[in-house]
């Protein structure tokens, strides 16, 4: 069972968990990301903000291996992950949610979370076909761990429902629960509060902060809700037209003239 308990690789303190080094990603003429450089430490909550189309989601897609940078490099735990397949990065501990929800709609809520334990579970087809004790024991552990995560996200009552039957807000929470199943060291949340009402947003905000603290993971949060970001993020990156225009604490960001300029007329 050793494989199932997360082994959080402790990186040497001077080495960032994630580092983008002059990373650019172009879609033909569109400069979605342009020479972005930043780094993230372990166990902190970061915010990533910027106007629509600034390239925030694209950064997530680069970090998770969906896109390969046009130039520059991306380092995770000190190693270049440029060009690595997404599933390998997920196994290494990069979990994410999607701006446009991507659940396994026809699986149950519980099964959705259980998929994230697939690569962490030992045993091949033989044990599954003969349904050995070994197999059943592992299934049980996965089930329990998944139920724990559902409990944490307040989805326990929906465990046996199809994912697609969940209301919007709960679908977003399910995506988070599923990503947490990976035992990530880095969690990327793409607009988790989109479409939620103020009280739901408040609740989710607290939940994200709590999870980040108790699980001691690093979170990078894309969010349009400024209040939310300013409230919980220790450090904020601001993106505009694909370029990083500012980084720092909430107060610093709020008074930064370039940020104010970028957001002029983009009331939120």
């Amino acid at each position: 069972m050793a494989q199932m308990t997360s082994t959080i690789t402790t990186t040497t303190s001077n080495q960032p968990l994630l580092k983008l080094d002059n990373m650019s990603l172009y879609f033909g003429g569109v400069r979605a990301n342009h020479q972005v450089t930043f780094s993230m430490g372990e166990g902190l909550l970061y915010g990533l903000i910027g106007p629509n189309g600034a390239g925030k989601s694209t950064i997530f897609n680069v970090i998770t291996g969906l896109y390969t940078p046009t130039s520059g490099d991306v380092f995770f735990q000190g190693e270049s992950i440029k060009g690595r397949p997404s599933y390998e990065l997920a196994k290494r501990g990069i979990g994410r949610t999607f701006q446009n929800i991507r659940l396994f709609k026809e699986l149950t809520v519980l099964e959705n979370v259980m998929t994230s334990f697939f690569h962490q579970t030992p045993g091949g087809y033989g044990s599954a076909l003969f349904r050995t004790d070994f197999y059943s024991a592992n299934e049980k552990i996965v089930r329990e761990k998944s139920l724990e995560l559902l409990e944490l996200m307040g989805l326990i009552d929906n465990a046996e429902e199809k994912a697609q039957s969940l209301p919007y807000g709960k679908q977003r929470k399910l995506e988070m629960a599923r990503a947490l199943g990976l035992n990530p060291t880095l969690l990327l949340l793409d607009e988790p509060a989109a479409g939620l009402n103020p009280s739901e947003t408040k609740e989710l905000t607290n939940l994200i902060a709590k999870i980040q603290k108790t699980k001691k993971i690093s979170v990078l949060l894309i969010e349009h809700d400024m209040k939310l970001v300013m409230e919980i993020c220790e450090k904020i990156f601001v993106l505009d037209y694909g370029t990083l225009i500012a980084e720092g604490g909430a107060a610093e960001i709020q008074s930064n003239p370039r940020v104010i300029e970028a957001y002029l007329g983009v009331e939120d």
Binding site: P85, F98, L103, N112, H119, F130, Q164
Partner: protein
């Protein structure tokens, strides 16, 4: 250790149970024969089509039904579970049929006991097909959707035409005098075994992963799942089972022609899945049975009317099912596919 044995035994017990039930049904359908000779005919697979409750015609239909169920259920693993629309399933059946027929005819002495021959045939047919399935799967699974369909359709035809050009297996004349030892007992047992395998896969974490890939491949990757690997594995399992079906087919007819394995056959197997309801094992079984029995059932009508209305009615029935039950007999729009109680 004790417990592992306990569970292993459970599955083994299940398999023996399947064996016993298959035997029992064969025995009943053969009209409860008590002579040693008749019993050994069922058990040791002597061609057995003359006596009993069933006419030879019905007997051969039942065998065909079993083989079609195997093909249909094996394909369900690919298109129902993984969402892979492959169109070359008849090719895998052909490889199973020709490789096992060649092995039995050319590689082992004809005095080998029939039971051993049967086991060898099924394993050789399945393995050869699985090897080709691996190669085809590995080389084509980077493609998605329609492209995968097209490529597998091509592969299916390539297999057929390659076989057509091998003189040792009869070329265009067909392969004749293949030892016949497939009987109702063996067909029933192997199809039950295939259903059990596919059911176990569906229930397992592998099945869950296949459905996840079908529904959202990108999200599946973000869960640490390598979709290509899982798909290739599904391809190998599916082609293995289609190969077993082909082997049993070869030794039931005693004659093989490449004409049997054209893309028309592949489409027929897809139709079985679609009519039964994609994603449902029960559906694949029902579809396979229906598409075997329907065309035969209408043969009676032909005697009556004097003209061959079979294909017209057959096509009409399928069209009606698709109009009134577009998700198939056991399918559903929201993924709540129906299953028989014993397959739940």
């Amino acid at each position: 250790m004790q417990k592992i044995k306990h569970y292993l035994n459970q599955t083994v017990v299940k398999i023996f149970l399947l064996l016993f039930v298959s035997f029992l049904i064969s025995w009943v359908l053969s009209g409860f024969p008590f002579s040693d000779q008749a019993l050994s005919q069922i058990l040791f697979l002597k061609p057995f089509r003359t006596s009993g409750l069933l006419s030879p015609y019905v007997y051969s239909i039942l065998i065909l039904l079993g083989i079609n169920v195997m093909l249909s259920v094996s394909l369900a693993l690919l298109n129902g579970f993984c969402g892979l629309f492959t169109m070359g399933h008849a090719g895998f059946m052909a490889i199973g049929a020709y490789s096992s027929a060649s092995f039995i005819m050319f590689a082992i002495p004809s005095s080998t006991p029939l039971l051993l021959k049967l086991i060898a045939a099924v394993l050789i047919g399945g393995s050869m097909s699985a090897i080709v399935g691996f190669v085809i799967g590995y080389s084509s699974l980077r493609l998605a959707g329609d492209y995968l369909g097209m490529v597998t359709l091509g592969f299916g035809e390539i297999i057929r035409i390659a076989i057509l050009n091998i003189d040792a297996v009869g070329g265009a004349r067909g392969m004749i005098d293949i030892p016949q030892f497939t009987n109702l007992f063996s067909v029933m047992f192997v199809s039950a075994l295939i259903v059990l395998i596919v059911k176990r896969i569906r229930e397992s974490r592998f099945g869950r992963t296949m459905f996840a890939i079908k529904e959202n491949e990108i999200a599946a990757q973000m869960m640490g799942i390598n979709p290509t690997k899982i798909k290739v594995q599904a391809f190998v399992f599916s082609s293995f089972m289609a190969g077993m079906a082909g082997a049993l087919f070869a030794h039931s007819e005693g004659y093989l022609s490449t004409q049997t394995f054209t893309f028309v056959k592949s489409f027929e197997i897809i139709a079985m899945n679609v009519i039964g309801g994609l994603g449902s094992i029960s559906g694949a079984i029902v579809g396979g049975a229906l598409l075997t029995v329907l065309p035969e059932g209408f043969r009676v009508l032909q005697d009556f009317t004097g003209i061959d209305l079979r294909m017209i009615i057959y096509a009409l029935t399928i069209t009606l099912i698709m109009i009134f039950l577009p998700q198939g007999l056991m399918g559903s729009k929201n993924g709540n596919v129906k299953e028989f109680k014993w397959l739940k």
